[in-house]
């Protein structure tokens, strides 16, 4: 495995061995290749054809084919399911598997053509790079967060005054149902999956997830799921709450069908991701990464993924049963047909309580990372925190019926459910106390990520304690289904999950984007969120104690003042998100360049460049210690071999911090009036495309061209010590120089025995070219591209960089 890995990296685009035959890149028509155009037509084609067949069968069997609620339900069910499947097919999730299935020779086992983002467009395509998928997840889920937030503002607008003013009670029920559904299934759960997608493989020292194509499919299932939920507003939204309790869900309008189907796709996405994480974490840890050396975020995702795999099929089942009740009249939950109403709640909560931990454990993992790193101390009680994570996961499956203390079950059954529920407070408390103990005597850097982590501790203790209240049966009987519960879940899911998501986004933002966010705006965002979050949800506890029920459009006028204040605070809380959005978008585009390791962290994701190279690690890292050994002299978590020294890797090489001098040099360097172009190429140096590119630059004005052919790695391990190769390169270079001179361009060149990055940067330092042309083989075969050469030069050289692709084709020059 390691050998294959090395060989691939040492390739630098040389066609090593026989595995990498030339790929004929046939660009099929946009209608036929995986694209948004194909996604749209295939999805609607699938949807209409299958719905049409269903209508035809109904007609043949003598049922009303297209009119009436019953027909609508059936046609919608088939239509939506196949529309969503058609979308994933059309966008291209299945292309590779399909090629494999039919034995097409186009598909290579090691096909990395869909791996990595080379331009912003790649983020809108099916991509197998876990880092791209992670960012796709985070951006998409954040859009759903904004939509879900807007729905919540609609709810608060209606509740600002008693009585019904803005929306009808039916629409109101739809608003809060869709709000919760989007927030849970399309924001919190998948955004944790997104963060973990980006971070976990890096933390493990892996090149990617275990199943990159399944990973892409997981992501692309989310969009149809979200659109299905939102589309329900076109026919009257689902309005039975995100809990979709039967038999209300059996009887309510057509919108509920959208809910039952949307959940299937969101759930399938979740399960596929969880399987992927389990396999990745168990099998793809770098050498030396024992379980007890895994960062706590990895532990958290291990536990979470187990919960998802075991639990999520239950909600899928419960919604299938509702769907079957609705369209097939199965009577699962219809007592008149022998069904059992409370059965629904047992199945539903058997998933949906563990779901609370699915929405919380990854957050705990993030907090452990952020607190240890930003307070510069080893996490306090690493093993106990890891154990408590597992304990929460296990106990999480034994407590579901605490949601049902007033639903009607054997009275004695409530007692053990209360006991197990309260026991969960113990591992949760262990975490809280351990975090505070980690802070003690540390060196606390109040970065925005840290502020959210500290704010989280405060809000989550409140949410945890109100959870204990709700576990104590007599108190629960009093306050269940009141605003006390609304306050509790928001303290857990907003003060808990959302705060941790923010902490995670700020913490890993430099790693993901290669840029720093604005701390001042970040702090502003934190304080606005923290203050208005508490101002919005704290008073809801009191409303609940006073007897204001949840899920009501209208309420007792004596709660008017408080509700008005809550609504104002909720609007301001919503507005605070705009600060975040501005900061993130602006910093992503224009923020200062981030060093590889701005937080001086030890875990593996910080030991590679920001953003990481396309295949993460040049060699599998060797893990030699724990991930949080701050303050231990000379302690290392892992030894990472980076083939090109990375100037941004400031922590290890202080010499490279002398950037300002280089900038002064830049102004002095521009003494010559003639434009100076630096051309970097190795195998492709004689390529026509490259020559053409240089000629077109030279048309119009005089230019001076320097061509360099970097050939080697500095590590010495993979030195190309083949005189023939060197001579062939020299010959190619000379031919190129001749052709350029023939075209009247002043050209010089040399073969350099160095790695491309340092060769380019040295040339940039010493000779101050005005622009750079980098010439490489096509994406799938280029070692330089795989290691982000173009991006990194573009990033660090701060002069225009043009990338030319030369397909040397079936006859790789150099003849190796």
């Amino acid at each position: 495995m390691a050998v294959a890995h090395g060989a691939e990296l040492s390739g630098h685009g040389h066609a090593h061995g026989g595995g990498h035959g030339p790929v004929q890149v046939q660009q099929r028509s946009i209608w036929l290749r995986g694209s948004w155009v194909r996604a749209i037509w295939v999805s609607f084609f699938f949807g209409t054809v299958v719905a049409g067949i269903a209508a035809l069968i109904r007609n043949r069997l003598g049922f009303e084919a297209v009119s009436g609620q019953s027909a609508h339900e059936v046609l919608l069910t088939f239509g939506l399911v196949f529309w969503a499947i058609g979308f994933t097919v059309g966008i291209g999730c299945f292309d590779y598997w399909w090629g494999y299935l039919i034995g097409s020779h186009k598909w290579e086992q090691e096909d990395h053509s869909a791996h990595g983002a080379y331009s912003w467009r790649d983020y809108f395509k099916v991509n197998t790079d876990h880092k791209v998928i992670g960012i796709q997840y985070l951006v998409l889920t954040f859009i759903f967060f904004l939509i879900g937030g807007a729905l919540a503002e609609g709810v608060r607008a209606e509740l600002a005054t008693p009585g019904t003013q803005i929306v009808s009670p039916g629409t109101y029920n739809g608003l809060f149902s869709a709000h919760a559904t989007l927030m849970i299934f399309l924001f919190i759960i998948p955004s944790f999956a997104g963060l973990a997608n980006f971070v976990v493989p890096l933390m493990l020292g892996a090149q990617d997830m275990a199943f990159p194509r399944l990973n892409a499919l997981s992501f692309w299932l989310l969009l149809p799921a979200g659109l299905i939920f939102l589309a329900s507003f076109a026919v009257g939204p689902f309005d039975a709450g995100w809990t979709n309790y039967a038999p209300l869900s059996d009887k309510t309008g057509v919108g509920d069908t959208f809910f039952t189907i949307g959940v299937q796709f969101a759930g399938a996405s979740s399960i596929a991701t969880a399987v992927n994480f389990l396999v990745t974490i168990v099998t793809m840890r770098a050498p030396g990464m024992s379980f007890w050396r895994m960062p706590l975020l990895v532990w958290a995702n291990l536990a979470t993924s187990s919960l998802v795999v075991l639990g999520t099929p239950f909600i899928a089942g419960s919604q299938f049963m509702v769907l079957y009740d609705r369209i097939m009249h199965t009577h699962f939950f219809d007592p008149a047909g022998g069904g059992n109403v409370v059965l629904y709640q047992h199945i539903f909560w058997f998933y949906s309580h563990p779901a609370v931990y699915i929405m919380m454990l990854p957050g705990f993992g993030i907090i452990s990372e952020v607190i240890a790193i930003h307070s510069r101390k080893p996490i306090f009680g690493y093993r106990l925190i890891a154990f408590s994570t597992v304990a929460i996961g296990v106990l999480g499956f034994t407590v579901w019926a605490h949601h049902m203390f007033v639903s009607g079950m054997a009275p004695w059954l409530r007692i053990p459910m209360m006991a197990t529920t309260m026991l969960i407070a113990v591992p949760t408390g262990i975490k809280i106390f351990s975090w505070v103990a980690t802070l003690w005597d540390g060196v606390i850097h109040l970065t925005t990520a840290m502020l959210f982590a500290l704010g989280f501790i405060f809000t989550f203790v409140i949410g945890g304690l109100s959870g204990v209240f709700l576990a104590v049966i007599p108190v629960d009987i009093n306050v269940s289904d009141t605003y006390f519960v609304v306050a509790h879940i928001h303290y857990v899911l907003f003060g808990g999950s959302v705060f941790t998501i923010y902490a995670g986004i700020y913490h890993w933002f430099p790693k993901m984007t290669g840029r720093m966010y604005d701390e001042r705006l970040g702090r502003l965002h934190f304080w606005l969120t923290f203050i208005f979050f508490n101002a919005t949800f704290m008073p809801m506890h009191w409303l609940g104690l006073q007897g204001m029920p949840r899920r009501v459009a209208d309420y007792d006028p004596r709660f008017a003042t408080l509700n008005f204040i809550i609504s104002i605070c909720a609007f301001l809380l919503g507005a605070s998100t705009l600060v975040f959005l501005y900061n993130i978008i602006h910093s992503w585009a224009r923020g200062p360049i981030a060093p590889a390791n701005p937080w001086r962290a030890l875990s593996l994701e910080w030991q590679v460049s920001s953003p990481p190279p396309i295949f993460n690690f040049d060699e599998p890292p060797q893990v030699v210690g724990g991930p949080y050994e701050f303050g231990v002299p000379g302690a290392r978590h892992a030894i990472v071999t980076v083939h090109e020294p990375e100037p941004a890797f400031a922590g290890a090489a202080p010499a490279t911090l002398k950037a300002p001098e280089a900038t002064t040099g830049a102004s002095q360097g521009l003494l010559t009036s003639m434009r100076h172009i630096l051309v970097v190429a190795n195998q492709t140096v004689a390529g026509d495309e490259l020559i053409d590119a240089v000629r077109s630059k030279a048309a119009g004005e005089p230019v001076r061209v320097t061509v360099i052919c970097p050939q080697n790695d500095p590590s010495g391990e993979w030195v190309v010590d083949d005189r023939e190769v060197a001579q062939a390169t020299r010959a190619r270079l000379d031919a190129t120089l001749d052709r350029l001179r023939a075209a009247g361009i002043e050209a010089t060149g040399q073969v350099v025995d160095r790695d491309p990055y340092t060769a380019v940067m040295d040339e940039v330092e010493s000779d101050r070219p005005s622009e750079i042309i980098i010439s490489t083989l096509p994406q799938t075969r280029s070692g330089w591209l795989r290691r982000d050469l173009v991006e990194r030069v573009r990033h660090d050289a701060k002069i225009p960089v043009e990338h030319v692709v030369v397909d040397v084709g079936a006859k790789p020059a150099g003849g190796a």
Binding site: S168, P169, G170, A240, G241, Y245, P247, L248, P335, A336, G339, V341, S375, R376, K377, P378, F380, G381, Y382, V406, S407, G408, I415, L423, A425, V426, G429, I430, F433, A437, L439, W440, D441, G442, V443, H445, L446, L454, V461, L465, F469, A471, V472, I473, P474, V475, I477, N478, D481, T482, L545, Q546, G547, P549, R551, A553, D554, F630, G631, A635
Partner: protein, 244 residues
């Protein structure tokens, strides 16, 4: 300040918080049943425990942030490499365990006492439907849309929804009791009203567009007035039946 002193400050703050909790005039609407008083006491006990836990966590948190914040010159400094402390870890595992077990026992005791049944208790059938409540008094042979109860009389509510209806939930905030009205099954809840007055029964399970308006009047009457009400209802019903 040593951690021990911070701990003392935290406990003092927790104690002040507890006093504040106890002197707060109204956490709840007026208590109108013996069940309510027991729930309230349990709630206050939980609040006091929470006050101490909240105070301990927050005091240590805020003090640590203030005392150990990075100052200029700390850019490359790390904290001491403390990996844990077995005694502390045992303490904060065992004490919360004891606390939750104690509260689980207290909760169980209150539950059993709140749901105790009596021989001559009043039995009321509570029937939910979209979006109204009906109350049947089987022993008295009375049906009503207002829930009328007798002061001091232990009452068992048999709660259900009509067979083709959806789930509703029976909740009287002043009694602090609640139970779902489920189609196809009978749930029970218990209340011994101990305060004469008029209250509101609120549906607390989402049951459709009319959910927020699905309410009923609850009246608790002294024994003589309750008996008079029953008699009046009987007369009324027999006269309507006679007329039919």
């Amino acid at each position: 300040m040593s951690a021990f002193k911070v701990g003392i400050v935290a406990v003092v703050i927790g104690a002040i918080g507890s006093v504040a909790i106890l002197v707060t005039p109204s956490w709840f609407p007026v208590a109108a049943a013996t069940q309510a008083t027991r729930q309230d006491d349990l709630y206050l006990a939980l609040m006091i425990m929470s006050s101490f836990i909240m105070a301990i966590v927050t005091t240590f948190l805020v003090y640590a942030i203030w005392k150990f914040r990075a100052r200029p010159g700390d850019e490359n400094r790390d904290g001491p490499p403390i990996h844990g402390n077995t005694t502390l870890e045992i303490v904060w595992t065992v004490i919360p365990t004891i606390l939750v077990v104690a509260f689980a026992i207290a909760g169980g005791v209150v539950l059993v006492r709140n749901e105790k049944t009596y021989k001559n208790e009043l039995n009321v059938h509570v029937i939910g439907q979209q979006f109204a409540w009906t109350f049947k008094y089987p022993k008295q042979g009375v049906t009503s849309t207002t829930l009328v109860l007798e002061e001091g009389q232990p009452t068992q509510f048999d709660i259900y929804s009509k067979l083709h209806d959806v789930i509703h939930s029976f909740y009287v905030p002043q009694f602090r009791v609640k139970a779902d009205a489920v189609p196809g099954q009978v749930n029970h809840t218990y209340a011994t009203p101990d305060r004469v007055g008029t209250y509101t029964l609120i549906c607390t399970e989402l049951c459709g567009p009319g959910h927020s308006l699905m309410r009923a009047v609850v009246r608790v009457l002294p024994k003589d007035k309750f008996d008079a009400w029953v008699a009046a209802q009987k007369r009324l019903q027999s006269s309507t039946q006679g007329g039919a």
